[in-house]
C-alpha cells in the first residue's frame, strides 16, 4: 500500500511535515515523511525504532531536519519560538527536574509559557492528572507513571492548541491510563490537535480517530483504522473458528477460493481469507455438510495489531 494518498493529509491542518527527513551519519531515523495533523486525536503508531520519537522531536523543533520542513500553526518552530505558547510536547524520557516538586515544575512551566495566572493554571493542570496529593513532593521521588502525569500536567498548563505526546501512558497504572485516555479524548473533542505516539495499539484505538503509522522511519500508512484496512485489499484477514472436529472442517474449507491458509491449534482453526464476508457465510454451511459442530466463529484481528503486523511484516 502506498502511504502517499489523501489520508496522509487532513483538511485545515494545524501541523504539517513536508518531505521531512532526519539522519544521523549513515543511520536514517526519519525518511521523507509528508503528512499533516488537524484537530482531534491522531495516533502515531510504529514499533520501537520506527522513528516516532525523532519525528515528534522534528515536529516540535527540538531537532533540526536534515531535509524537509515543518509547519506548526503556520510557522517553523525553530525560527519563531513564540509558537511554543500554543504547543507542548510530553517527551518519552522519564527525566524531570529532580530538584523541583510537581507543583514547582508545573507552575514554572505556566510562568515560562506566560500564563496570566500561573498558580491557578498549575492547580488546574495538576488536578487534571490527579496529582494533588503528591504535588508538594519532589519529582525525583515519583514513580515513572507519576512522572508521566506530572509531564502531562506541565504540558497542559498553558492550554496548548497542539499537543505532542510521546508514549504518554508508559508506566501509568490501568486506572490512570483510562483517565489519561479520557482526558486526551476530551482535549481532542475540544478542538485541540493531539498527536499521541504509542506502540500499545489497544490504547491508541481507544483514543484516536485517525492513525499515522511509521515503519523504519517511513510513513507506512495513514487514515482511520477502517479505511486503512479497506485500502489494504490484499491483506489476508484472519477468522477464528472453534469446532469439535477441526481437521475435518479444515479439509472441507481448504479448497474454497476465499481461503488463503488454515492453521490448527487444538480445537481452534485460524483461517486466513481475502474475503471474510464470504467465508463467514460459508463456514456454517460447510460445517453442517461435514457434520462438524461449531462452538465459536469470530474475526480474529479486527484491531490495529493486525494492520500493524501487516505493515511491518508485509513490506
Amino acid at each position: 500500500m502506498s502511504a502517499a494518498n489523501s489520508a496522509t493529509h487532513v483538511e485545515n491542518p494545524t501541523v504539517t511535515s513536508d518531505h521531512l527527513s532526519k539522519w544521523y551519519g549513515q543511520k536514517v531515523a526519519v525518511s521523507d515523511v509528508s503528512c499533516s495533523f488537524g484537530p482531534g486525536v491522531t495516533g502515531l503508531l510504529g514499533p520501537n525504532g520506527a522513528g516516532k520519537t525523532t519525528f515528534l522531536r522534528l515536529m516540535t523543533g527540538l531537532v533540526v531536519p536534515s531535509r524537509g520542513s515543518v509547519d506548526l500553526l503556520g510557522v517553523d518552530p525553530r525560527r519563531d519560538p513564540k509558537v511554543y505558547a500554543k504547543i507542548a510536547l510530553v517527551p518519552e524520557d522519564e527525566s524531570v527536574y529532580p530538584h523541583m516538586t510537581a507543583w514547582q515544575f508545573v507552575r514554572w512551566s505556566a510562568a515560562m509559557s506566560k500564563v496570566d495566572q500561573p498558580d491557578k493554571a498549575a492547580a488546574a493542570a495538576i488536578a487534571q492528572v490527579d496529582l494533588e496529593d503528591a504535588a508538594m513532593r519532589r519529582l525525583e521521588t515519583f514513580s515513572k507513571g507519576m512522572r508521566q502525569r506530572a509531564k502531562v500536567a506541565s504540558a497542559l498548563v498553558h492550554q496548548p492548541d497542539v499537543l505532542f505526546l510521546d508514549e504518554p501512558l508508559n508506566g501509568a497504572d490501568p486506572l490512570q491510563r483510562a483517565k489519561l485516555i479520557e482526558l486526551f479524548v476530551r482535549l481532542g473533542q475540544e478542538g485541540r490537535t493531539l498527536v499521541v505516539s504509542s506502540h500499545v495499539l489497544a490504547e491508541v484505538e481507544r483514543m484516536a480517530r485517525r492513525v499515522v503509522a511509521m515503519v523504519d522511519g517511513r510513513l507506512a500508512a495513514a487514515g482511520s483504522i477502517t479505511s486503512l484496512r479497506n485500502a489494504m485489499s490484499d491483506i489476508p484477514r484472519r477468522i477464528l473458528v472453534q469446532a469439535d472436529d477441526p481437521r475435518r472442517l479444515a479439509a472441507a474449507l481448504v479448497a474454497k477460493p476465499s481461503t488463503t491458509s488454515i492453521s490448527i491449534e487444538g480445537t481452534t482453526l485460524h483461517i486466513d481469507t481475502t474475503d471474510p464476508l464470504e467465508l463467514g457465510s460459508l463456514v456454517p454451511a460447510v460445517a453442517h455438510s461435514a457434520g462438524v459442530r461449531l462452538t465459536k466463529v469470530e474475526p480474529e484481528d479486527e484491531s490495529l495489531e493486525s494492520v500493524f503486523r501487516y505493515l511491518v511484516d508485509g513490506r
Binding site: 544521523y24 543511520k27 531515523a29 525523532t54 522531536r57 516540535t60 523543533g61 527540538l62 531537532v63 533540526v64 525553530r78 519560538p81 513564540k82 509558537v83 511554543y84 505558547a85 504547543i87 507542548a88 510536547l89 517527551p91 524520557d93 527525566s95 524531570v96 527536574y97 529532580p98 530538584h99 523541583m100 515544575f105 514554572w108 512551566s109 510562568a111 515560562m112 509559557s113 506566560k114 506541565s154
Partner: protein, 253 residues
C-alpha cells in the same frame, strides 16, 4: 517574574544541588585548612604573603577552574544529558534569553560555591593577620573568573557530551601550557584575568607581588581591564550559545 528570572532561579537551584555542592565546597575551601596548618611556624611577617600564595595558587589555579568547569558545563550539558531540554527550550522564550539566563546561573552558582571557600579562607586569613579586608581581592577575582569560565564552559557543555574531560583538557593545555609559553595569548587566560583583578584590589604583600608577577607574565594588573575582557567574552559566549540553541539538535539520537 520574567523568563530570564525564572530560568536563572531554577537553573541555579539545580546547579547547587547538595550532592554536587559538598565536593565542590570542600575543594574551594581547601586553602583554609592548608593555610591554617602551614601558618604554624611561619613568622607573622609572612602570614599575609602565605595567604596570597594560597589564594593565587591553590584557589585560583586549581580549585576555581575545576569548580567552574563542573558547574558551568552542567548548566546546559546536564539538561541535555538528563533529557530535560524540552522543558527549557520548548517555551515561548528567545534562545538568547535562555542562553543569557543559563550563563548567569552558572556564574551565580560558581560564585556561591567559590564564595564559601573564599569566606572560609578569609576567616582564617583575617584571624592570622588581623586584616579583616584580606579576602576582598579573592572575592573580586572569584566574580570575574567565574564569569570568564562560564563564558567558555556553558557552550562547551552544550557542544560536547564529555564536557568535563574537554574542559580539563582546555585548562591544562590552553590555560596552563599554551598561554604560559606564548605571551601573545596569555592575556586571554582566564585565571590570569582573575589574578590581574586580584592584584588591583589591594596592595599585595611582597610575596604576593612576586607570585603575581610570575603568574601574570605580560598581563597587566587591573580590575577594569579584567572586567572589560570578561564582559566581551560573555557577550560572545551568549551569542554563540544562543546560536547553538537555534541551530543544533537539542536532543540526542
Amino acid at each position: 517574574m520574567t523568563a530570564f528570572g525564572l530560568i536563572l532561579t531554577s537553573t541555579t537551584r539545580r546547579l547547587l544541588r547538595f550532592r554536587r555542592l559538598v565536593g565542590l565546597v570542600l575543594l574551594t575551601g581547601l586553602p583554609a585548612p592548608v593555610l591554617f596548618f602551614v601558618s604554624f611556624g611561619t613568622p607573622d611577617s609572612r602570614l599575609a604573603g602565605l595567604y596570597d600564595e594560597m589564594m593565587l595558587t591553590v584557589f585560583m589555579v586549581l580549585a576555581l577552574p575545576v569548580t567552574a568547569l563542573v558547574i558551568a558545563s552542567a548548566a546546559l550539558g546536564e539538561e541535555r544529558r538528563l533529557r530535560t531540554m524540552p522543558f527549557l527550550v520548548l517555551k515561548p522564550v528567545s534562545r538568547w534569553t535562555i542562553a543569557a539566563a543559563v550563563t548567569a546561573s552558572a556564574i551565580v552558582a560558581t560564585i556561591v560555591v567559590g564564595g564559601i571557600g573564599v569566606a572560609a579562607t578569609w576567616l582564617v586569613g583575617a584571624i592570622l593577620t588581623g586584616n579583616t579586608l584580606i579576602g576582598l581581592p579573592a572575592m573580586a577575582a572569584l566574580a570575574i573568573t567565574s564569569a570568564g569560565y562560564a563564558a567558555i564552559y556553558v557552550p562547551l557543555g552544550l557542544l560536547v557530551s564529555r564536557s568535563t574531560l574537554a574542559g580539563l583538557a582546555y585548562i591544562f593545555i590552553w590555560e596552563f601550557i599554551i598561554t604560559s609559553i606564548a605571551s601573545g595569548v596569555s592575556a586571554s587566560s582566564i585565571w590570569r584575568i582573575g589574578a590581574s583583578a586580584y592584584g588591583d584590589v589591594r596592595t599585595l604583600s611582597s610575596d604576593g607581588v612576586a607570585i603575581l608577577d610570575e603568574m601574570l607574565s605580560t598581563v597587566a594588573v587591573g580590575i577594569g581591564g579584567a572586567t572589560a575582557k570578561v564582559i566581551v567574552m560573555l557577550v560572545l559566549s551568549v551569542a554563540f550559545t544562543g546560536l547553538l540553541l537555534r541551530r543544533r539538535d537539542l536532543a540526542d539520537e
